[in-house]
């Protein structure tokens, strides 16, 4: 039996895990812990309580390892599959719709298989998803040990892995969309994990809705592709120019922009940090957000045929990279810094996609997955140690108290900053090289981003681990189950960069020849950024504040996150709200209470208008009819005076009128 025949098993393992959690966890679906008032971050638990919990829920300890095991199985299986070769496996016909005419007039049938495609591109993603997914599962066992809702947590995590695998293994665009939406669902569930906290559920909704806007684009893209090619299967789509192809690629880009948190749909990602930190690491740094990149790489033939959309991609990517990086400069929340950094790095990847360096983008995806996951998990470790504290201003000097965490974070920071020789350096370099070939502006943006990246990462590192501790918590190093994954990831952070050429070869791409100038520039920028950060935050603490005063407007702009959220709020909410009178302001309160940003706001505002029109206009018309029927009843009734003579009068009058009519007619 060919090992590849068992390809379908890869996503099945985590699905099994998820299903198992759902079944078993029915009774402890939500653990009592969470009900007792914890908001998810840990207070000091005395052992007794912990023991108590354990004895009450005997199987609790099993959850994490079980789920991790499923993902590990998946990982091992995919290793086997990847080395067995490339293949396509169709399990069954999933959607089997009706025939319809394609644009070229042929009758084709709307079908989509449930089938998997294993090629280098998906192989890379599968390995990354299962590998990093496994590490994060392991890490979570310890990180979440004191949290309630473990069944739910690990169930959702497994569900996420399942959907992510469906996404990257799908052999057609429709099945890909299943994974695409599925990871959105998992993301919703996990961001809102601490569902008693309003910000968490708000953030979850926001993430889901902003993604949905992209998804709407995806759906439309699907229809275009279907009509152009008559099929959605990757291997059957023969890329050829078509006047409507730009629409398809543009819509695909919109979908990718949503999923990968690019301008203008990026504001959900920082909010998504409301989820547990491992979730941030897994989904909002390493895997899910790169689905956009994956999609564009998958759709590479179409993007190649539509250079104008490519340029737009690059522009969006560059702008996102610079803007997000600049916002990261002033963030105080350690996870927010990393979140903006993620957006910024995703921007770089989009820039690479836009200039046609698909392999470079993918390469950066891989390296970024290593060091960003590592950084998030490290941050998680810090947060864990500080019992939920996330503000950089109350950290400092942790390097001695948490040596393992410090070392791995240090490696990760350097890798992200692009320290020569580490993973980030090489992947970023590939992008910059391609950008240089395409346009100096893009190159400049990339380089500037690199500078900013090095700076804010340096800032993060120095503020967290150097100097004196500014908080008041009892600090302890995290357990092995948390630090070991960190170390495993740092292997990747250090070494992954050296495989650039074989990686490109595997994908069948020819990388741009290395340009020493770019390399040097990139290295210089990285070192400079770190150096400035050192100067600002370690050497001369307070410099930063002075600088901020010096460029106050800029700082304000950055603090306000370039006013994106405010812009959405202003345009969609206040702009309309101010016009209305009192009821609108009442509504405003309701809207503000509602807590959902962005399009949702506008929708609800318009929704209120529609409700109003429904009550007063549509229903009003109906009620008016009913009312006028009733009203007209009265005149008819009041003709009936009760006086016999007025009845007779009407008879005579009618006779007169009728006679008059006949006279007029004959006249």
């Amino acid at each position: 039996m060919n090992f590849l025949d068992t390809l379908w098993l890869i996503p099945v393992f985590p699905l099994l895990g998820a299903a198992l959690m759902m079944m078993l966890g029915r009774h402890q679906y939500l653990d009592p812990q969470i009900e007792n008032g914890s908001v998810g971050h840990h207070h000091h638990h005395d052992r007794g309580h912990d023991q108590d919990l354990r004895s009450k829920q005997g199987s609790r300890w099993l959850i994490g390892p079980l789920c991790s095991g499923f993902v590990l199985l998946s990982f091992l299986w995919s290793l086997g599959a990847v080395f067995a070769g490339r293949t396509e496996q169709v399990l069954f016909t999933w959607v089997a719709g009706m025939p319809f005419p394609a644009f070229d007039g042929r009758m084709v049938t709307l079908t989509a298989d449930w089938g998997y495609l294993l090629d280098p591109l998906s192989a890379v993603m599968i390995l990354m998803v299962t590998g990093i997914g496994f590490l994060i599962h392991v890490y979570s066992i310890a990180y979440m040990a004191h949290d309630g809702g473990l069944y739910r947590y690990f169930g959702c995590l497994n569900l996420f892995v399942f959907f992510m695998l469906v996404l990257v293994m799908a052999n057609n665009y429709l099945l890909l969309f299943v994974g695409w939406e599925g990871v959105g669902l998992a993301s919703y569930l996990l961001i809102g994990f601490y569902f008693k906290r309003k910000p968490a559920s708000d953030a979850a909704i926001k993430a889901f809705l902003m993604n949905r806007i992209g998804d709407a684009g995806y759906l439309m893209a699907l229809f275009f592709l279907l009509s152009i090619f008559g099929t959605l299967r990757f291997t059957e789509m023969q890329a050829a120019a078509h006047p409507l192809l730009p629409w398809a690629t543009l819509l695909l880009l919109a979908a990718a922009v949503g999923k990968s948190a690019q301008i203008p749909l990026f504001t959900w990602l920082p909010d998504a940090m409301e989820g547990p930190t491992p979730v941030s690491a897994l989904m909002h740094a390493a895997t899910m957000v790169t689905a956009g990149v994956y999609l564009i790489v998958r759709a590479e033939p179409f993007f190649r045929l539509t250079p104008e959309v490519g340029s737009l991609t690059a522009a969006i990517g560059a702008a996102t990279a610079v803007i997000a990086a600049s916002i990261a400069l002033v963030q105080h929340d350690i996870k927010k810094v990393l979140a903006y950094s993620t957006i910024s790095q995703l921007g770089l990847m989009f820039m690479a996609l836009g200039v046609g360096a698909y392999w470079a983008a993918l390469f950066h995806v891989v390296t970024h997955a290593f060091f960003k996951a590592q950084l998030f998990l490290g941050a998680g470790s810090v947060i864990h140690a500080l019992d939920g504290e996330q503000d950089l201003r109350f950290m400092g000097g942790l390097r001695h108290r948490m040596p393992q965490t410090f070392r791995t974070m240090f490696i990760g920071t350097l890798a992200l900053a692009g320290w020569p020789g580490l993973a980030g350096f090489f992947s970023k370099d590939s992008i910059l090289t391609s950008a240089w070939a395409a346009s100096p502006v893009l190159f400049g943006a990339g380089l500037f981003t690199a500078l900013l990246t090095a700076f804010y990462m340096g800032r993060l590192l120095f503020l967290t681990f150097f100097g004196a501790y500014r908080g008041d918590q009892h600090i302890h190093e995290s357990p092995k189950r948390m630090t070991v994954p960190l170390w495993v990831l740092s292997i990747g952070s250090i070494g992954a960069g050296w495989f650039a050429t074989p990686f490109a070869g595997w994908l069948g791409a020819t990388p741009e020849p290395h340009s020493w100038a770019v390399m040097v520039a990139s290295a210089v920028v990285a070192v400079a950024g770190l150096g400035i950060a050192y100067h600002f935050y370690l050497n001369r603490p307070g410099t930063a504040d002075r600088w901020e005063e010096g460029v106050a407007p800029v700082a304000r702009l950055l603090r306000a996150r370039w006013y994106f959220d405010d812009f959405y709020e202003m345009v969609f909410v206040r702009g309309l709200a101010r016009q209305g009178g009192e009821w609108l302001s009442l509504l405003d309160r309701r809207v503000v209470d509602g807590g959902v940003n962005g399009a949702g706001w506008l929708a609800r505002k318009v929704g209120d208008l529609s409700k109003w029109s429904d009550t007063w206009i549509v229903d009003g018309a109906v009620n008016l009819t009913a009312f006028s029927v009733k009203l007209s009843s009265f005149p008819v009734r009041y003709l009936q005076t009760g006086l016999a003579q007025s009845y007779a009068l009407l008879i005579v009058l009618s006779l007169a009128a009728m006679a008059g009519w006949y006279l007029l007619r004959s006249a």
Partner: protein
């Protein structure tokens, strides 16, 4: 028998003679036996009706034929309506017994007058000569004037009778004036002669127009079509409920028979002249009847207004002027007999006239409330009830003759009608009772009548074939 009065003549007259005979018998027995006889009067009335029916059936075997030189024509048309009169009278007799006892006006004359009214109506259906028709009409009307005022101690009954009489006599006068013009046109009172004379004139001949005006005013009054409807709500409300039922059904369809006889017979060639008039009357009836009913608080009055609206639908059938329209009228009237009497008899069982009196009725007497829903649905014209078939045919006739707007108007008023009919349902089923139990006027006769009307109303809706065959055969032979 002399040659003035042949066997055929006798045979043609026999049902009316029987009715008159039994009517007189009732008067006589009441006079001779007094109080004691009253329980047995029903036993006199029903056999009388049964014998009448027997003879109607025998007439049906050899119909059509004419008697008295054409003064009476026994044809399918006349027999059909006479069967309806017979059913109506029987049902009314059945439901009246206990009701009159409760009202403490249980007098023998009542049943006699019911039979006399039917005897008068007999001539409206079969009469083909103006004087016969006029005298028949007046016999019926006079009986009704008395019946409406039958509750002598009730001011409302007095008042209703008075208004009905004044206006009825006035309209009879106008009708008689119209008849005199018809006589002037033809020099004869036989409809066949008049038909020829009218046909010889143009449709808009002034004399014809005058005749049409006055005749239609007189008859439209009797079928309570707007704008000659004003007496109806008052008379219906004030009359004893059983009489209201009889008035709403018997008087109306008898006058309808006359309307059809005249307008399809002698005046048929002047259709061009009277059609707009009837269209106006139909629309006005629909409008007035339906709209005024919407806000009524008295159930009898509500049904009175609705009966005005029904007159409108019947007129639409005549306006359509094709065979389907006639079938529609036949089926509509057939259904109308059962559903209207059914609705009134439930009101009698409630023994209350205000809609509020019905509150919570369904909880206490579901056996009456559920049939009432059927009657009301049928009155509104919803399937699967007999009333639907009538409306169906009327609409079909209108569409066949290209009168789409009229069909739409008629259809639109169905919704309005349902609204007020369902106010009664709302009271019975959805609202809680507001007071202690009222005396309930149930009796064996009432229950039998309820069963009969309910079964026919629903049964004819679910499996209408036999009813349609019946109506079709009776009218199209």
């Amino acid at each position: 028998m002399s040659h003035f009065y042949t066997d055929v003549d006798h045979f043609a007259l026999l049902p009316a003679i029987l009715l008159a005979f039994f009517g007189c018998a009732v008067f006589l027995f009441d006079f001779l036996l007094g109080e004691r006889s009253r329980r047995w009067q029903l036993a006199l009335v029903l056999p009388g009706l049964a014998m009448t029916g027997w003879h109607l059936w025998k007439q049906g075997q050899i119909a059509p034929f004419t008697a008295f030189h054409g003064a009476i024509t026994i044809d399918a048309f006349g027999l059909f309506f006479n069967w309806l009169f017979l059913l109506t009278a029987a049902l009314v007799a059945l439901i009246s017994y206990r009701y009159l006892e409760i009202e403490e006006e249980h007098q023998g004359e009542y049943y006699g007058l019911v039979l006399m009214a039917q005897a008068g109506a007999y001539f409206l259906a079969v009469g083909t000569e103006l004087i016969t028709i006029f005298v028949g009409l007046e016999t019926m009307s006079l009986s009704f004037y008395v019946l409406v005022g039958f509750l002598r101690r009730s001011r409302r009954s007095n008042e209703a009778a008075l208004k009905y009489l004044i206006l009825g006599a006035f309209s009879s006068g106008i009708l008689a004036y119209g008849f005199s013009i018809l006589y002037g046109i033809a020099g004869s009172t036989y409809l066949s002669d008049i038909a020829m004379a009218v046909a010889a004139r143009p449709a808009f001949d002034p004399l014809t127009v005058l005749a049409i005006l006055t005749v239609s005013a007189g008859i439209l009054f009797k079928i309570s079509a707007a704008p000659f409807h004003m007496w109806a709500p008052d008379a219906y409300e004030g009359a004893p409920t059983a009489v209201t039922a009889y008035l709403a059904v018997g008087s109306k369809i008898a006058s309808l028979a006359l309307l059809l006889r005249l307008f399809l017979g002698p005046l048929g060639t002047a259709r061009e002249a009277w059609e707009p008039l009837l269209i106006l009357a139909a629309i006005a009836s629909l409008t007035v009847g339906n709209l005024a009913a919407v806000t009524q608080t008295n159930a009898k009055r509500l049904l009175a207004y609705s009966s005005i609206a029904h007159a409108g639908y019947l007129l639409l059938g005549l306006v359509a002027g094709n065979a389907t329209g006639l079938q529609g009228i036949a089926i509509y009237t057939g259904a109308y007999v059962f559903m209207t009497i059914g609705a009134f008899l439930v009101l009698m069982a409630v023994h209350g006239e205000e809609i509020e009196d019905l509150n919570g009725f369904a909880r206490r007497h579901p056996g009456y409330a559920v049939p009432m829903v059927v009657f009301l649905l049928s009155l509104a014209g919803l399937p699967p009830t007999a009333g639907f078939l009538g409306k169906y045919y009327i609409f079909l006739a209108l569409i066949e003759s290209g009168r789409y707007v009229l069909a739409l108007v008629g259809a639109a008023y169905v919704a309005v009608a349902l609204f007020y009919y369902f106010r009664l349902v709302r009271s019975m089923f959805l609202l809680p009772a507001i007071e202690v139990e009222r005396p309930q006027a149930s009796s064996l006769g009432l229950r039998v009548a309820l069963g009969a009307t309910g079964l026919v109303t629903l049964g004819a809706g679910i499996y209408p074939e036999p009813f349609l065959q019946l109506a079709m055969r009776s009218l199209l032979k």
